[in-house]
């Protein structure tokens, strides 16, 4: 069904279609309208679920965990401060291998106070053992939530998934969304009935303690499951495509990367703006491309390498900052490209911008491309310096809203 929804409504729709049974969430801008919509569905009878009105986000995730171990499909959503306040629970539920799905409407973190989008909130949670998928459109938000339930509960994954969508820019922006039929979703996503569940007949302790001789083993397999999830994410995306006719590339979503001299790597809704810029530059004959990272955890090292191998300059746009180092994507992409077996050693230029809702305009992205193309020319001529020394060491402030690290 063709509908006109914003990103948050698309998420709520997906949760209804996924037949989530327990929802526990706490309000926070710009997330709140997701769970308000769900509350509405429950109130109007179009969704059969318990809504637990918790007193905080830490409690929200604890309640979700409690519900999940009974063997129900569970949903929560949050943003920014709320995600940060859940931090202890984030590690906990992934460590317990509970396949929750959570929507994160990305927003910057205080202080200073902001309610506007950047990726700092979710990026800062990249070590928590959650799969993180970043979406570009409301349609992808809906579809990815459905995929997320399938990925999370896959018996070789058993890992919670965050579906991350940019605050306001996606969450509050309406656009055309094709809403799949319930029947089709039911085929794609059968009811969730896990092997382990709370049952007095077969008592289980959830979340045991483990000494130094045992703890590493659990962590090892948790990590392995996350690495394995790389394939599952691709599989599920393919399966989804077969059923619904839409695919998002699984882990990464390259756009005109073949033969590109400069590829811009980024996540989230900004990809849309970047597509316009790439089209424009391609029309002018520039060899530029875009690589949208969809899966940030697991980090798709091989996929990135294969796409970026022949590139001369990789521009990375971070809507986050690991203070005292640089943008996180930049670091992680550099790491993926480091080493003798990456041919050509592309130069990675990290840009940080779009913090706290600072707008990213086509001309900003065009500017990034322009500077990188100039560096390619210089590099081709054997000149230096290039775009950057490759890391924050050379990071003199270039601008306040968009800086080269």
């Amino acid at each position: 069904m063709r509908a006109y929804l914003n990103g948050n409504e698309a998420v709520a729709t997906a949760v209804r279609l996924a037949r989530a049974e327990v929802v526990a969430a706490y309000p926070i801008t710009p997330q709140s309208t997701i769970v308000e919509k769900i509350a509405e569905y429950i109130a109007d009878g179009s969704m059969a679920a318990d809504y637990i009105r918790v007193e905080s986000e830490h409690a929200a995730l604890a309640a979700c965990y409690g519900a999940a171990v009974t063997g129900t499909r569970v949903f929560t959503a949050t943003s920014s401060q709320g995600l940060a306040y859940m931090f202890e629970m984030l590690h906990y539920v992934s460590g317990c291998r509970v396949p929750l799905v959570m929507a994160v409407t990305n927003r910057g973190l205080a202080a200073p106070w902001t309610i506007w989008a950047d990726h700092q909130d979710a990026i800062a949670c990249r070590d928590t053992g959650w799969i993180q998928l970043y979406v570009e459109t409301a349609q992808e938000a809906l579809d990815t939530c459905l995929q997320a339930y399938k990925i999370a509960a896959h018996p070789e994954v058993l890992t919670p998934v965050m579906v991350c969508l940019d605050g306001y820019v996606l969450s509050h922006t309406e656009e055309i969304v094709d809403v799949p039929d319930q029947e089709a979703v039911d085929v794609f996503l059968p009811p969730y009935r896990p092997e382990y569940a709370v049952d007095p007949a077969r008592p289980i302790v959830f979340g045991i303690g483990a000494g130094p001789e045992l703890y590493p083993a659990f962590k090892h397999y948790q990590h392995q499951a996350m690495l394995r999830a790389r394939e599952i994410i691709e599989d599920v995306d393919r399966e989804f495509a077969a059923l619904f006719g839409r695919s998002y590339g699984g882990l990464v979503d390259p756009y005109y990367c073949d033969g590109a001299e400069v590829v811009l790597v980024l996540m989230g809704a900004t990809a849309g703006t970047a597509r316009e810029v790439v089209d424009d530059l391609r029309r002018r004959g520039e060899q530029v491309g875009l690589l949208r990272l969809r899966s940030f955890r697991p980090f798709p090292v091989a996929a990135l390498r294969s796409v970026l191998a022949g590139t001369k300059v990789v521009a990375v746009l971070d809507r986050d900052c690991s203070f005292g180092y640089e943008g996180v994507l930049a670091t992680e992409i550099k790491a993926a490209l480091q080493g003798a077996n990456v041919p050509g050693t592309p130069e990675v230029a990290g840009f940080t911008g779009g913090l706290g809702g600072s707008d990213i305009r086509p001309e900003d992205l065009a500017g990034i491309f322009r500077r990188c193309l100039e560096a390619v020319r210089r590099r081709d001529r054997g000149e230096s310096p290039a775009v950057s020394g490759g890391c924050s060491e050379n990071g003199k402030a270039e601008g306040i809203n968009l800086w080269l690290s």
């Binding site: 291998r97 509970v98 058993l158 077969r202 289980i204 959830f206 045992l214 397999y221």
Partner: protein, 96 residues
């Protein structure tokens, strides 16, 4: 050690699973004189380790988990229980 299959599902394990009994912690040992027991069940109720079982006429005592806390002895109204030093004179060392 757990099997790979179990490790892969996370730290959620069937319970109870007892790697050891706790009787070995004991430094003092309760000794029951069943003849004095009037089955008031004080020991049965108050033993933190659940070492007593109710029987027809008197309780019985299983020391597998007994840590020798002495509560049963202190609470028994009929002095049917007494506390002796476990392995006193290094008894157990020599016995076995």
């Amino acid at each position: 050690m757990l099997k790979e299959d179990e490790l892969k599902k996370g730290p959620n394990l069937y319970t109870p699973f007892l790697g050891t009994t706790t009787g070995s912690w004991r430094l003092l040992r309760p000794v029951l004189d069943r003849a004095r027991c009037n089955n008031c069940l004080a020991c049965w109720l108050f033993c933190p380790e659940g070492c007593f079982e109710r029987e027809e006429r008197a309780v019985t005592l299983n020391l597998d988990f007994c840590k020798g806390c002495g509560i049963c002895v202190a609470e028994c109204p009929r002095q049917a229980l007494a506390l002796v030093e476990e392995g006193s004179d290094d008894a157990r060392l020599l016995e076995r």
